[in-house]
Symmetry: C2
Subunit: 650 residues, 2 copies
């Protein structure tokens, strides 16, 4: 907290008002029309669910909603034309993202069916699986993505379930050896799933070929568990109770040879194993790489849930008064309290920045995969980079959602605790996002690994030991590669002065990332040369590694924000977005100023100036608060919170 008092905080407006629609256009970006389509989706069941809906009733409702959603045809568009899609990979992801504004149970249920289940068949299967894929996409068959086990979640490579090929019967024997091998938290398993994509160690000819995916029926025509399949129910959860998460165990279940999704690993009738990818490790990461889409969707949905919460809390803060202010001034609007502004506005600004990074990520994935599906050679390095970006942004977006929705809940007081005000549902539904589709801490380690190996080297075979060894031997320093065109940076002079100088801000983020990665490598080297085994060496720098990964994500988020502003030609809109960008980056620098100070990257004076600038920016953005949240353009009938209604008594 700065106590410099010589300069009064500027209170006159520094940016002229703009229409919300102008900001919406910038936020919607490349897939604006798909977003508009999504906004027009009308489901028979309006959100939110009846608050006292029990688990069974909520599940039934969400399954009905899933079918209604399928009937719109929109979820199919992300799939290949060959199976009735429109080859619009990005558009399909945008739909998932937009569902984040509604009942998240529907978003996750849809994500399980189209994103994970059908997505895995499309990504890992071949021609022979197209009919199954079509049925999955058309909801003729509901399915599961059975990867996680009770004993192994993050460490997918060590799954215990086995699929052993028997040449005599030309079948695979799918088996769960013990309780730790039980497939766990599987969406669609407890109630609706008929078929599951099961990840198991593929054994053929006595050799283990690593984790592969197979199609395994889990229920018979009458909905009873298939022979040899035991189905459990995960029961009530903190949220997402419209999704039927369950448990699956297999007792020597036989499936035909064709059940193997064999794009990256094929088993001939005689049991001969073959794969287009030599290296076992690289094969594994290539298979997992096809699942990156799920992380991007979760990131986008989490961001939108946070935006929904910000709409609610901001509308309330612009309606509710508490305590009398200046003599004769009457009661004060919550949004006029400096502390309240600090609770909501920096989070609002960061929501904008993350949206820009999300748009860029979606765009990158769309272009890369569209080219790949068109038969163009895959740029391995670009794919690895995409995976690291998706992992990093998913982690930061989901933590941002948890913290922001929580802040909105608390800023709304007791009213924020009532189900009728939607915040509790948003909070509890999104809570699991920080640990599913990849635990955030593990995902950031993936990012850190990418930074250490600089994406370039082919490290699919390397586990942490390998990375530690690599860093200890050959590492030469992180290259900071910018994610947006040079031109953008040439135009940065447009930024403000002092701590609002964009070049200075970006320089700090780049410098921190570079320093953290280089020192990370030197610490690993030092630990190794000090005789520590590679795991101990890695473990001793784990918090440092996570910090480096965060620094990387912070930097690419700022770069995406700068690019979005740069692409905007309405000076008034740019004026507002520059303030938003300043508040986002400076509140982040304020949070991390301990590091910048102790590493002499920032002076005491600059550090205090940052705190003052954050205070000032809250005041400057205060007049735009309403416009900034309305620009999210959430359809009014999706915003059911009582306190967000114009006539609220709260």
């Amino acid at each position: 907290m700065s106590e410099v008092t010589d300069v009064p905080i500027r209170t006159e407006p520094t940016a002229e008002p703009v229409p919300a629609a102008a900001l919406t256009a910038v936020l919607d970006g490349r897939w604006a029309s798909q977003r508009e389509q999504a906004r027009r989706i009308e489901l028979r069941h309006r959100e939110p669910p009846a608050f006292d809906l029990d688990t069974a009733a909520h599940r039934t409702r969400v399954t009905e909603q899933l079918r209604e959603l399928g009937a719109t045809g929109l979820p199919m568009e992300g799939f290949a034309a060959a199976v009735g899609g429109a080859d619009d990979i990005g558009g399909g992801m945008i739909l998932m993202e937009m569902l984040g504004y509604r009942d998240l149970s529907l978003m996750v249920k849809a994500g399980v069916q189209w994103g994970l289940f059908a997505g895995a068949i499309q990504a890992l299967g071949t021609e022979q699986h197209h009919e199954t894929l079509r049925r999955a996409v058309e909801l003729e068959v509901l399915g599961c993505f059975a990867m996680t086990e009770a004993g192994h979640g993050s460490d997918v490579q060590s799954l215990l379930t086995t699929a052993t090929y028997d040449p005599d019967t030309q079948t695979f024997d799918v088996h769960s050896p013990g309780p730790a091998a039980r497939k766990e938290y599987i969406g669609n398993a407890a109630r609706d799933g008929e078929l599951a994509v099961v990840f198991a160690q593929l054994v053929s000819g006595g050799a283990d070929h690593g984790v592969h995916a197979l199609l395994v029926p889990i229920r018979d025509a009458d909905g009873r568990p298939a022979t040899g399949v035991t189905i459990g129910d995960c029961g009530r959860k903190a949220g997402l109770n419209g999704v039927d998460n369950g448990r699956l165990s297999f007792d020597h279940v036989r499936v035909p040879r064709e059940a193997l999704l064999d794009r990256y690993g094929h088993v001939a009738p005689d049991g001969t194993y073959s794969s287009p990818i030599e290296s076992k490790g690289r094969r594994f990461f290539t298979m997992l790489g096809t699942l990156v889409r799920g992380r991007v969707s979760v990131s986008g949905a989490a961001q939108n849930a946070a935006k929904h919460a910000l709409v609610i809390a901001t509308r309330r803060a612009l309606q509710r008064h508490q305590f009398t202010g200046a003599e004769g001034g009457g009661e004060v609007l919550l949004m006029d309290y400096r502390a309240h502004q600090r609770r909501l506005l920096p989070a609002l600004a960061t929501s904008y920045a993350l949206s820009f990074a999300q748009n860029e990520l979606t765009s990158t994935l769309h272009d890369l995969w569209t080219a790949r599906d068109a038969g163009e050679p895959v740029d391995d390095r670009a794919q690895r980079e995409l995976e690291a970006r998706a992992a990093g942004l998913k982690a930061i977006s989901t933590w941002h959602a948890s913290a922001t929705i929580q802040a909105c809940r608390e800023a709304s007081g007791g009213a924020g605790y009532l189900a009728e005000n939607a915040l509790p549902q948003l909070r509890s539904d999104t809570d699991v996002f920080t640990t599913f589709e990849g635990d955030n801490t593990v995902l950031l380690q993936l990012v850190g690994k990418g930074l250490l190996t600089d994406y370039s080297a082919q490290f699919e075979d390397l586990d942490w030991r390998g990375v530690a060894r690599f860093a200890a031997e050959g590492f030469v320093g992180a290259a900071i590669e910018r994610t947006v065109p040079r031109g953008v940076f040439r135009r940065l002079g447009r930024g403000g002065e002092g701590v609002r100088d964009r070049v200075w801000q970006l320089g700090l983020l780049e410098d921190r990332e570079k320093h953290l990665v280089e020192t990370l490598a030197s610490r690993l080297r030092h630990a190794r040369s000090g005789g520590a085994d590679s795991f101990t060496a890695f473990n001793s720098v784990q918090p440092h590694l996570l910090h480096a990964a965060r620094a990387h994500v912070d930097r690419i988020v700022l770069e995406a924000t700068l690019a979005a502003i740069d692409a905007c030609d309405d000076p008034a809109v740019v004026g507002v977005l520059e303030l938003v960008c300043d508040l986002h980056v400076l509140s982040g620098l304020e949070r991390d100023r301990g590091w910048y100070l102790e590493h002499k990257r920032m002076s005491d004076r600059e550090s205090k100036e940052i705190t003052r600038a954050v205070d000032a920016l809250c005041v400057e953005l205060r007049p735009h608060a309403s416009t900034l949240v309305e620009a999210f353009a959430i359809p009014e009938h999706w915003i059911t919170a009582e306190i967000a209604q114009p006539d609220s008594a709260y």
Copy 2:
């Protein structure tokens, strides 16, 4: 994140193992026997509730539990002997605190009935209300504490409900003028309440005498709303769904003159108003001051819910393995990952520190009120100080609970999201604690006000305008008053070296508090002399004020911890507690190091050393992790989480 690599992190044990029971004795403190009694309470309904219990069923269950609890006679002990109590104020609060280990709905239901409803009658009523009090204590009548209104929560002084005295009928006319006057979030209102302590503006002889409390029947003998009373239901909430929160509106409801709880404000038959307290403002704060107990109980219950979560997450981290470590070393225990240690151990250490502060606060309140009830003169200054401490500790304890339970949830992965693992219930039940019994942000402002006025001056009449004026004129600087005996500090030499030097640590906290309060006053003075009206002046320093309040609480929490360690004569126990204290204070200094650095209170080298010390302390405390959580001595059958069971498959 420090990258200094010259000093390897110490890994050999630095404290010998101690039995959990030895730590339990220190944690239980003065009311150890009452805690033991509470641990032996057996209710017919075991926690947790059936997870799919709907709101109605959960409410019924908790009401039954309330009666079972009443039958034990324990809740009565906190009340005066005159109404069948044991005059054990502290013991009564300890019971509430211990209920924090169980279904929080029961804790809150009990808190509403005995703490708020009966508590208010005891505190604000007189002889003539003793029979009602006895019936309330004995559960012959269930009641509400109807203070908060839809339009006014934090600003109690501006409540809209009126109680107008009519000398002709010698009755009060209780009335709610409009929807904003509706009593809101009132526990016991939706289902069980028969009688309510209603806070309203007392009007008599045409004059408004400010907020007073009256006993108003809200339901008739058949459980129907009493004439003129409209009862609403707050419905489903994020948590605490076993508590029937509701809404109350009064349409000119008549109650007899005796309904007024008239200890601090009496109305004679002819309508003449009299009070033992001249000043209207001071009278108001005196009435509110009697309610401080609720905040202390919420603080303690929140701390215990956090401990329960720590037991669950720590037991899991000591059972679950993920990823293989050093060559041939097999899979690694979660608790052996540095990042995992950092998620759990600092929070565990802070839970210890907060417990010691809680014990000291309870003890202070007990002694102060016991003396008061014995007729000794009330030390106004001590009472104000108590109120500020309770407000500050409640804010810090409840935020600590939210953050810690959340960290435990995430550290437990998908399993932490399942209701069967208890964490979701703990998280959602305690969530409202940050905004009820006083919104944390408002409470910290209360602490800040106390710091500015240094407790000493009689400021009951002063609102923020007054404080701002005072600070602008007469303020001379904050006196740091230590809360524990001098002797403790003479023995601090016992602490470690470098950043583990206790004198240095405490000096930093004292210095920061002093500096923040002094600069706060100078900023107010500066703003006022700059022509800002008092509200604008206050508002401009609001974040600074909140920071000063936090700094104050941090300091008294550390002092209480030092006193608890000092009072402990087993060197082995002291050895462990010194590490716990170091981790608590140093992780806090790490979090706030930005401020210390920018204010030159800490060198770059010391700052980096603190981060390294936190890493090292996690390693040093790792061998004690199990003992530290078992020392909370939560009865095993209260710990129902599947992942906390010794044979968990997760």
